[in-house]
């Protein structure tokens, strides 16, 4: 951003918070270098372990607070998989639970001030989305063989329309991983960047900073909601794709 140097007073670098930095100094980022990505993903793992392993350690019949949250998360995702993907989708529940719980914790950890949001990176979300895409495609082909192609051939539509619809369906099928990944990363990036922009205003306004601060509070509350909803949406879309793979006949 060349203009920043020129204006001087207003120093806003909304994208700096997303820079991947090595944890222990140095500039080179090899594939194995421990970076802030490593740190915040490790924290997400720690949170998962705290909630779902340490929290349920008591195996209490009448659950403690943490245990009931863990059970709530379990029941929430389980019901979602069962409702959307169907009874035979329950087999894949651990995978979806893994994705959901990781995204939830990565999103929420990213909301801590000065934190690094791993899910705001296209690389991370695209990896997950492509994994889901290839998984459901291969699963669909293995389970249904050529019948999987009936997903694109809508037998309910008039015959003349079917080739056009098939083309649209094929395109939308291959756009799936793109929208799937960019939705999550874009939401996270946008929210954090907006907060950072308002924070930049607050820095130069002096007493008037109260207005940007109020705006930050409101946006932050929205971001808390969005963090959860995006994780939910990612998981539920995974369930929808899974259902399409298991039952391609509309």
């Amino acid at each position: 951003m060349a203009s920043d140097q020129a204006t001087g007073g207003l120093q806003i670098h909304p994208m700096d918070q997303f820079i991947v930095k090595p944890l222990f100094g140095g500039d080179a980022i090899h594939w194995y270098t421990p970076t802030n990505v490593t740190l915040w993903m490790a924290l997400a793992v720690v949170c998962v372990v705290l909630l779902l392993v340490i929290g349920t350690r008591g195996r209490a019949l009448v659950p403690s607070r943490v245990q009931s949250v863990a059970e709530l998360a379990y029941g929430f995702v389980y019901k979602m998989v069962e409702d959307v993907a169907g009874k035979d989708g329950v087999k894949y529940f651990p995978y979806i639970m893994t994705l959901f719980i990781f995204i939830v914790f990565a999103n929420f950890l990213g909301l801590i001030p000065m934190a690094f949001t791993t899910t705001s990176h296209i690389a991370v979300t695209a990896t997950m989305a492509l994994a889901v895409f290839f998984f459901v495609t291969i699963l669909g082909v293995v389970k249904n063989g050529v019948g999987f192609l009936s997903l694109f051939w809508i037998s309910a539509a008039p015959l003349a329309l079917r080739p056009i619809l098939a083309l649209i369906e094929v395109i939308s099928y291959f756009v799936r991983p793109v929208s799937h990944s960019i939705r999550l990363a874009g939401n996270m990036m946008a929210g954090h960047a907006v907060i950072k922009v308002f924070a930049g205003f607050a820095g130069v306004l002096g007493v008037g900073a109260i207005f940007p601060l109020a705006a930050i509070t409101a946006v932050y509350a929205l971001e808390v909601l969005v963090s959860f909803i995006q994780a939910y949406v990612f998981a539920i879309l995974t369930c929808v794709y899974l259902r399409d793979a298991l039952h391609p006949h509309h």
Binding site: I29, V45, L52, R59, L61, E71, G75, L99, A123
Partner: protein, 172 residues
């Protein structure tokens, strides 16, 4: 834009800095694998077991509650039956007593009626007797008076004729 500013500044959008992609993907895969194993080996079976156990306990409790409810209903039925029996018994006793009292009363009434009738008959008889006597007295007095009247007028009173005249007058 970022490319044409000073070189120290990193690429404008860190998300598009492809040099960090292998690093992020590597650590993401590590993280997901770790979470997957933690979940599938420890957390999910444990939570599933706890939930199933709770479900079992709850359904057991519900069954027990159902049984207790049935027992309570039975007890209530027994109580109702006892109450109904007692009520019927009381009714019976009341009816019996009433019948007894009625019989006594009837007997007493009959006795009293009989006595009253007897007394009334006796009184009737006495009245009839008194009337008879009175009639006789009237005849005697009339006869005597007639005889006296006749003798006072100076005639010789014929007893039989006076009797006949008095009797005819009394009848008339």
């Amino acid at each position: 834009m970022a490319t044409d500013t000073n070189a120290a500044e990193p690429v404008g959008m860190p998300q598009l800095d492809f040099s960090t992609f292998p690093n992020q993907i590597f650590w993401l895969v590590v993280t997901l694998v770790v979470i997957y194993f933690v979940l599938s080996r420890i957390a999910l079976p444990r939570i599933a077991a706890v939930l199933a156990e709770r479900q079992g306990t709850i359904s057991n409790d519900i069954t027990a509650a159902e049984e207790l409810k049935l027992k309570a209903q039975e007890a209530e039925r027994a109580y109702e039956k006892a109450l109904a029996d007692a009520r019927a018994e009381a009714q019976r006793i009341v009816a019996e007593t009433r019948a007894e009292i009625k019989a006594d009363l009837d007997a007493a009434t009959a006795r009293a009626d009989a006595e009253i009738a007897a007394r009334a008959a006796e009184a009737e008889k006495q009245i009839a007797e008194i009337r008879e006597n009175a009639m006789e007295s009237v005849t005697l007095v009339a006869r005597a008076t007639a005889a006296e009247l006749v003798s006072a007028l100076g005639f010789q009173a014929d007893g039989a004729a006076v009797d006949t005249a008095v009797a005819s007058k009394l009848k008339g």
